[in-house]
Symmetry: C2
Subunit: 261 residues, 2 copies
C-alpha cells in the first residue's frame, strides 16, 4: 500500500531490486489473481511475506454484517495461507451506532470465531490498535493497552498485537505497554512512518520517517528491548507521495529508514 500506484508485480520486482527482503501484501492487489502465481512471484524474487493486510472489521449493529465479516476473515486466512503469509493484520472495526464496549465485545467474539481456522492454517492474527481518531468507524481498539488486554484475554499463541507508530506515538503509556506486549510474546508486527504537522487528511497524509514529529528511533528501541526481531515495515498512506515517481520514492524511503529510524 505504501507504493499504491504499483501492481503486485511492480512492487515485487522493484522492492527486490532495491534490496528489500520482505513485503506485506494488501488484499486489494489479490483481486482477480491466481494466488499460486502470486506466491510463485514472491518466491522467485525472494521476498518474504510479512503479513496479509487486512482482516477485521468485526463489529456491526447488524448481525448479518457480523456474519459476513466472519466469512471474509475466513477467506483472508485462506488467502494468507495461499500466498505464504504467516500473519494477518486485523483492523478490528467499530460501529458508531453502538458503544465502543459493545464493538470490543464483538471484536473479541469475531477473533475467537476465526481462531480455529487460523490455527489450522498456521496463520497468526495481529490486533492493530488504531489511533483514537478512528474510534468512530475503523477500530474500537485505540490503545496498545486495549490490544494487550484483548490478546492476553484470548490467550492463544496465534493472537498478538501490531504496533504502528502512527497510531500509538502520543500514548503516555507506550513504553510500558510495548514492554508488556513483548513480555507476553504478543509483539507480532512493527509498522513505521511519521505524523505530519499539520496533518490534513484522516487517512492519506502520513509522513515519511523524519517528515513529522514521531520519535521513531525511541519507539524502535522499546520494540527491540521487548525482544522483537521481525521486519520494520514502512507503511505510509500518502496522496502526496503516491503522486510522485515511485522508484525515486522507494529510494527516499530506504534513505529515511537508514537515517531516521
Amino acid at each position: 500500500m505504501t507504493t499504491r500506484p504499483w501492481s503486485i508485480e511492480e512492487c515485487v520486482t522493484n522492492y527486490s531490486g532495491a534490496g528489500i527482503k520482505g513485503i506485506t501484501v494488501w488484499r486489494n492487489v489479490l483481486d482477480n489473481k491466481n494466488l499460486e502465481d502470486v506466491r510463485n512471484l514472491l518466491n522467485d524474487f525472494n521476498l518474504e511475506v510479512v503479513s496479509l493486510a487486512r482482516g477485521g472489521f468485526f463489529p456491526s449493529t447488524n448481525p448479518q454484517k457480523r456474519s459476513v465479516a466472519i466469512d471474509d476473515n475466513l477467506l483472508a486466512i485462506e488467502q494468507a495461507a495461499s500466498i505464504g503469509a504467516p500473519l494477518i493484520v486485523l483492523v478490528c472495526g467499530a460501529d458508531g451506532g453502538q458503544s465502543l464496549e459493545k464493538s470490543r465485545e464483538q471484536i473479541a467474539e469475531g477473533i475467537i470465531r476465526i481462531l480455529p481456522a487460523a490455527q489450522g492454517a498456521g496463520v497468526r492474527l495481529a490486533i492493530e490498535p488504531l489511533h483514537p481518531m478512528y474510534a468512530g468507524d475503523r477500530s474500537a481498539i485505540n490503545t496498545i493497552c486495549q490490544a494487550n488486554d484483548m490478546a492476553e484475554m484470548i490467550n492463544s499463541e496465534m493472537v498478538g498485537v501490531a504496533v504502528d507508530v502512527y497510531h500509538l506515538w502520543w500514548d503516555p503509556d507506550l513504553k510500558n505497554e510495548i514492554h508488556r506486549c513483548g513480555k507476553h510474546n504478543n509483539l507480532f508486527a512493527f509498522h513505521i512512518c511519521d505524523w505530519n504537522v499539520p496533518t490534513t487528511d484522516f487517512l492519506n497524509d502520513r509522513g515519511l520517517m523524519g517528515d513529522g514529529c514521531i520519535n521513531v528511533p525511541q519507539i524502535r528501541s522499546w520494540v527491540e528491548e521487548s525482544g522483537f526481531t521481525g521486519y520494520h515495515e514502512v507503511e505510509i498512506f500518502s496522496d502526496k507521495y503516491w503522486a510522485t515517481d515511485q522508484k525515486a520514492y522507494l529510494e527516499r524511503i530506504k534513505n529515511a529508514y537508514l537515517t531516521k529510524t
Copy 2:
C-alpha cells in the same frame, strides 16, 4: 465560535432572545472592541460569561516564543477580568519539534508563571485535554488523566480541567477520570457536541449532539455525578453548520440539547 458567522452583538442578542443564559467569548471577537462596552452588552442582555477562550499555547522550542505566549496569556487574564469572565480555557499547545514530555513541562511552567496574575484577577484556568489527533501541534495534553495529573500537581484552587466530549469520548478511563476530576474539585467546564462518522476535517467537522457516535447523556451523567453544576456548553466548529442560517441553527442546537444530551 459555535455561531462563528455572527458578531458578538449578534451572538448576544440572538442567544438572549433564544433563552440561553450563558456564553463563552472567544478572543477573536474582542479585536478592536472596547471591553467595557462588551461587558455592558453582556450585562444588558443578562448573559453570564462562562469563560474566555482561549489561553495556552505555551510550548515552543524557541524561548522567545514561549515568552510571547506568557505575555499573551497575561493579556487574556486582563481581558477575562475586563469582560467578567471567571475562567479561561487553556488549549495548552505542543511543538512537534520536541517531545510531548518536554511540551508538557513547558505547559506546567507556563501555567505556574501566569498563576499569580490569574489569582490577582480572580480568573480561574481550565486545562483542556485535546484529542490525540492534536498532539502534534495543538496540545501535548491528550487525556483527562494527564490534565488531572497536571492540575493536581499544580494544586491551586485556580487551576482545573475542561471536559469536552469531542476530545475525550473514546477514552476507556473516562468515567473514572471524570470522577477523579470532580473529587479534586477540578471540574471547571463541560463542553458538548458530537463526533461525525466519518469525520472529514481535523478542525471544523464537529457534529451537533445526535449527529454522531458520542454518548453525550452518559458522559453528562458522569459529569453530574462528579458534582458539576455549571453550564453545558455547546461548542461546535462546523463549516457545514456555519454555512447555514444561524438563527435556524440556534433552534436546532436548542432542540438537540433538549432531546439528545
